[in-house]
């Protein structure tokens, strides 16, 4: 039962433009959401997170938006840079579950072209 879904397996964007990655979830009890970035042969690295009490969190070029009514979140990267080419995973957790246990989406491969 896939509770976190990333329906776009890949995204190509030109350097300098905005990358928008989408994530949908089915469990309305999720109360914390994270984005991880993964390069080949490396483990995921934390990028940015958002609590369900907020609808936006910004960190430099990265902004995460949360729409609880739609059970949807998105990650905006602006401007996109070649080093942003990686797989991005959306993850969610709920505080009533084992602390920090994450449900991951399948990932979106981002390619930033010159």
């Amino acid at each position: 039962d896939q509770q976190v879904k990333q329906n776009s397996p890949s995204l190509s964007v030109q350097e300098g433009r905005i990358s928008i990655l989408n994530c949908d979830y089915t469990n309305s009890m999720f109360d914390y959401f994270l984005w991880y970035k993964k390069y080949p042969a490396e483990g995921p690295t934390f990028l940015i997170s958002i609590s369900s009490i907020k609808d936006k969190n910004e960190d430099g070029r990265f902004t995460v938006f949360l729409n609880k009514s739609a059970k949807h979140l998105s990650l905006h990267i602006v401007p996109s840079q070649p080093g942003d080419s990686a797989v991005y995973f959306c993850a969610a957790s709920l505080s009533t579950d084992s602390w920090g246990k994450l449900q991951f989406g399948a990932g979106t491969q981002v390619v930033v072209t010159p």
Binding site: L34, F46, K101, L102, A106
Partner: protein
């Protein structure tokens, strides 16, 4: 090093053999997680350790899978009588645990790529 360390980085074995994967978490991290990532899929939770509490084993796919953790240090994931569907990257992550003020992101190792022939 300061990060999560996993060994071996790659493991190729024959179907039916047992394998043991090792994880050294970041020092001081009380929480330790195992995930696996099959080809083209997201990370799948396997098991969670927190201090001396009973682990959350709810993600282990079968009784061929088991894991141990010694105190708040090294963990080993053991797969007995391996099957081809066990082929995946097995990722370990550690975190500061529920004593933290807020959710803390997990820190992942680079994983063990397991291939069952």
């Amino acid at each position: 090093g300061a990060g999560v360390s996993q060994s071996p980085s790659n493991k190729v074995t024959e179907k039916g053999k047992d394998v043991e994967l090792r994880c050294d978490p970041i020092s001081g991290h009380t929480a330790l997680y195992w995930y696996r990532q099959r080809l083209g899929q997201g990370l799948e939770f396997l098991i969670y350790f927190q201090g001396n509490s009973a682990p959350d084993k709810s993600g282990l796919p079968s009784d061929r899978f088991s894991a141990e953790r010694t105190g708040e240090s090294v963990s080993t994931l053991t797969i007995q009588r391996t099957q081809q569907e066990d082929s995946a990257v097995y990722l370990c992550a550690s975190g500061r645990g529920p004593g933290s003020m807020a959710h803390q992101p997990q820190h992942f190792g680079d994983g063990t790529r397991l291939s069952i022939l």
